[in-house]
């Protein structure tokens, strides 16, 4: 379950039979995924029920995860403001809790942090209101800020879609209207956003015979330790090395400010097909990880994506994305960039192919790959150079031994 900061309640003090009581209107908190709403999945308590602080009250589903929201204090549930199935915008009331005044936690709009800490936070782009400080009274200390620097890069808020004037569709004997919910709706939004990016895509088939040989060796090694190793961690390792040589592809672009932010750290989004739809968990700090480490982290993320237990940290802040569409048999496709990122790599299925080797036909293992880049900030030449590096590393994976960790 995702950790939540309860900074969105309104507290009103009332006097009731001579006792001080308070009414807390609990509002849907910003779960930190840049998401604007969540769907009420299940009420875990009934109106009138007594609850303890931190006891789960309601399960909501955002596009990326199911989250249980706990009571902010001991008290009695007075009102459930929404029905199951409702889409609730962030900041809107979810339930009303009546509680003894003395137990009400202070609603802190203010940030407790020394001026030097606040300066550090601004320098690193950390929003202190989203942090829970480790000092007394939740005071934020420099270490808390530095810990948050490793936390999600905030995705750009999605622009409100233009209102479209058209007749609302209705069910007829021949049709059934299915409103998009949750993940599907989120994917639809994300893909519409991707449409605004002018893509240039380069396709190439590269000789992966040596990479597969390396994979076979490493897989055997992993199996001896009881682990399973797919080809994807090796491909990510190759990408890491290629992005080090072409850092301009590990970037985010803000068209409104006309600013490109090149990231020194590499957070790789792993496009993952789940039962409910497409989820892109983020492999943080792929740079310093070795192949087994990448493998373990990818396995954890894919598992969490399928179980819908990803935390906000697991789903935000990617600086580059990989789509391994070969894993479900696709030969080659056109991957779509997820803004504000500026590039994406897609890998197809490795297969036997007859290719000329030294002028003679030979059967080699061939990996089809496609890399798309945002033409506003990158040109075909940049893309070509990057893909050439990828090819060189895939065909000669021993070059990775020359990489600094």
């Amino acid at each position: 379950m995702a950790p939540l900061t309860l900074n969105v309640c309104n507290v009103t003090f009332l006097t009731c039979r001579g006792l001080a009581v308070a009414e807390i209107v609990f509002r849907l908190p910003d779960v930190g995924e840049g998401l604007a709403e969540a769907e009420v999945v299940e009420w875990l308590v009934s109106p009138g029920a007594a609850v303890r602080a931190d006891q789960p009250v309601v399960t909501v589903e955002t596009a990326k995860a199911q989250v249980e929201l706990p009571a902010p204090a001991d008290g009695t549930i007075r009102e459930l403001a929404r029905a199951v199935g409702d889409m609730v915008p962030v900041g809107e009331p979810l339930f009303v809790l009546e509680t003894a005044a003395a137990t009400v936690p202070a609603t802190r709009n203010r940030v407790l942090a020394a001026p030097s800490t606040r300066r550090l936070a601004v320098e690193h782009g950390v929003d202190l209101t989203t942090l829970t400080g480790s000092g007394p009274n939740g005071r934020i200390v420099p270490d808390d800020v530095m810990a948050a620097v490793a936390a999600p890069l905030k995705p750009e808020p999605e622009p409100e879609p233009e209102p479209v004037v058209q007749q609302a569709p209705v069910d007829t004997p021949d049709t059934e209207v299915r409103p998009l919910r949750g993940l599907r709706r989120q994917t639809a939004k994300a893909m519409t956003a991707a449409l605004a990016v002018p893509h240039i895509t380069e396709f190439r088939e590269v000789d992966a015979t040596e990479l597969e040989r390396a994979h076979a060796l490493l897989r055997g090694d992993a199996a001896a330790r009881g682990a399973r190793l797919t080809l994807l961690p090796l491909l990510v390792r190759v990408l890491v090395a290629a992005l080090r040589r072409h850092p301009e592809l590990n970037a985010t672009f803000d068209p409104d400010r006309a600013e490109l932010t090149v990231h020194r750290r590499l957070h790789v989004g792993i496009a993952t097909a789940t039962r409910d739809g497409l989820v892109v968990p983020v492999l943080r700090d792929a740079g310093p990880r070795g192949v087994p480490g990448l493998g373990r982290e990818i396995a954890r993320l894919v598992e969490a994506a399928r179980e819908r237990t990803l935390t906000p940290r697991d789903t935000t802040g990617a600086t580059f994305t990989v789509s391994n569409f070969g894993s479900y048999g696709t030969w080659l496709g056109t991957p779509l960039i997820s803004p504000p990122q500026v590039a994406i790599a897609g890998f197809g299925r490795v297969r036997d192919a007859v290719v000329p080797v030294d002028g003679a036909p030979a059967v080699r293992r061939v990996l089809p790959l496609a890399v798309a880049a945002d033409h506003r900030v990158l040109d075909g030449a940049d893309l070509g150079a990057f893909v050439a590096t990828l090819e060189r590393l895939v065909t000669q994976p021993l070059l990775l031994l020359g990489e600094d960790g």
Binding site: N10, V11, F13, T15, A20, A101, A102, V104, P105, A106, T107, R108, N109, R110, L112, A113, A114, P115, R118, R119, V122, E123, H124, G125, G135, P136, N137, R139
Partner: protein, 471 residues
């Protein structure tokens, strides 16, 4: 732009040489920027209103007047202060301060240009120099720090003789027998108190229901008592009309009064100097109050920042000082923000009032649960020895945590005491932190510690505090 007018390239332009402007210029120069500082009054303008004709001269006058009043209270006979001699002393203080800044600007290679500046393009401005020339500058970055000027009331336009603004009042070389001060905000109260102590018959004319209407009534009470003691007449709910034949006509509802006033001082607030800069050409639009909306890093748009009295917030020199390096760092491409937890404010009345952070009402409005602890100045030994045991210390803390939210003081040296509260708020200190901090005995500052101790004791008696909150 007419052909032939060659614009001179300027790296970083600062407009206005007041506290915000000269600080920005120095900071930018230290960062290696090539700085041009433009002020209407050229090098004479360095220091701005505050140093030249505002805070510094007024504190000198207040000190002089208070010295006389305290000497008299202590039974020491002193000759009536001579305002002529005061003017010489004031000029010396101002010169010492502004010379210091001029030499720092010179040492930092900041070029100071005199003249009225108007923007002509998003990256250009023309400066009309006093000798009638027009210098065109093309700048990369600009910091707007043109400050504010006194509000002019219709019918009471300062003439330098009978109707004065605060600047004129501080230039008085002779004490008028009768003075009416229009506006009993902090400037009006400070000037009125000082002139009354010097021996003038003073009348304060205030539109609101009491003096210092923006400050908590409990803090203002000792000041109002002292004004009465000094013989200052206070007309509230009053609108000043014409000044004719030594009389200021004042209307209070239906009633019209004529107040004897050889001199009328208008202290009815200040307006930002943003209306004569050609800001539309710069692509900057001030808000309805004339202030320029700024981002947390004080930029208005790329390459343009605004600080001091022209940006939103209190029109106080120390706010401008603090904004200046933020604006410059932002223009140099750094990620920065002006983010004080609190901006302290002081009224140099008698006693002084100083306030920082949230009042109880403001805390409630923010959704916090405040506890107010008040201790009187009368219990403080040092205040008694100063002959000034008037006033109160108000400590506002958060229920439960004890985190200091505000400190509000009326009393001797309140202007200095408030620094402790500001540090406490900035650091997120609690009442217990203050209570456990050793304060020097005997000083007025012990009263802040005392308030903290009382707050801690009350918090340890939960029954009491619960009762208090219900009320």
């Amino acid at each position: 732009m007419v052909v032939g007018e060659i614009a001179e390239a300027v790296d970083l332009l600062v407009v206005g040489a007041g506290p915000a402007g000269y600080t920005a210029a120095l900071h930018a120069a230290r960062r290696g920027r090539d700085v041009t500082l433009v002020d209407r009054d050229g090098t004479d303008g360095v220091g701005g209103v505050c140093l030249r004709v505002g805070c510094i001269p007024s504190k000198a006058l207040i000190e002089l007047a208070d010295l006389g009043a305290r000497a008299a209270a202590a039974g020491l006979g002193l000759a009536a202060p001579d305002l002529g001699a005061f003017q010489a002393r004031k000029r010396a203080i101002v010169a010492e301060l502004t010379d210091g800044i001029r030499s720092m600007l010179g040492g930092a290679d900041v070029r100071v240009l005199g003249g009225e500046l108007r923007f002509t393009r998003p990256d250009q401005a023309v400066v009309r120099t006093p000798d009638g020339r027009a210098a065109f500058v093309e700048f990369r970055d600009v910091v707007l720090a043109t400050g504010s000027r006194p509000t002019v009331l219709p019918g009471l336009v300062p003439d330098g003789q009978r109707v004065l603004d605060s600047t004129g009042a501080l230039d008085l070389a002779e004490l008028p027998a009768a003075v009416a001060v229009v506006g009993a905000g902090y400037i009006g109260v400070e000037l009125g108190t000082a002139l009354a102590k010097l021996g003038a018959a003073v009348t304060l004319v205030e539109a609101a229901g009491r003096v210092l209407p923006e400050i908590d009534a409990a803090l203002v009470r000792p000041v109002a008592r002292r004004l009465a003691q000094l013989g200052v007449a206070v007309l509230t709910g009053a609108a000043a009309g014409e000044h004719r034949d030594g009389l200021l006509h004042v209307r209070q509802g239906e009633q019209e009064t004529a107040v004897k006033a050889d001199v009328v001082i208008v202290a009815a607030g200040r307006v930002p100097n943003t209306d004569q800069l050609g800001l539309d050409r710069l692509g900057v639009t001030p808000g309805p109050d004339g202030r320029i909306p700024v981002a947390p890093d004080r930029t208005v748009r790329p390459h343009v920042a605004a600080i001091g009295d022209v940006s939103p917030g209190p029109a106080l020199a120390h706010k401008g000082y603090a904004e200046a390096p933020v604006a410059v760092d932002a223009l140099c491409g750094e990620r920065v923000a002006f983010q004080p937890a609190a901006v302290p404010a002081v009224v140099f009345g008698d006693p002084e009032i100083a306030t920082v952070g949230l009042t109880a009402a403001a805390a409630r409005a923010e959704g916090l649960d405040p506890v107010v602890t008040t201790v009187p100045m009368a219990a403080n030994g040092r205040a008694l020895t100063l002959g000034a045991p008037h006033g109160t210390v108000q400590l506002v803390t958060e229920a439960g945590t004890g985190v200091v939210l505000g400190l509000h003081v009326a009393g001797p040296h309140a202007s200095e005491l408030v620094a402790a509260g500001t540090v406490a708020i900035e650091m997120g200190a609690t009442a217990l932190d203050l209570a456990d901090t050793i304060h020097v005995h005997p000083t007025v500052s012990e009263q802040v510690q005392e308030a903290a101790k009382v707050a801690v004791r009350r918090a340890q008696a939960p029954r009491d505090s619960a009762t208090r909150r219900i009320q």
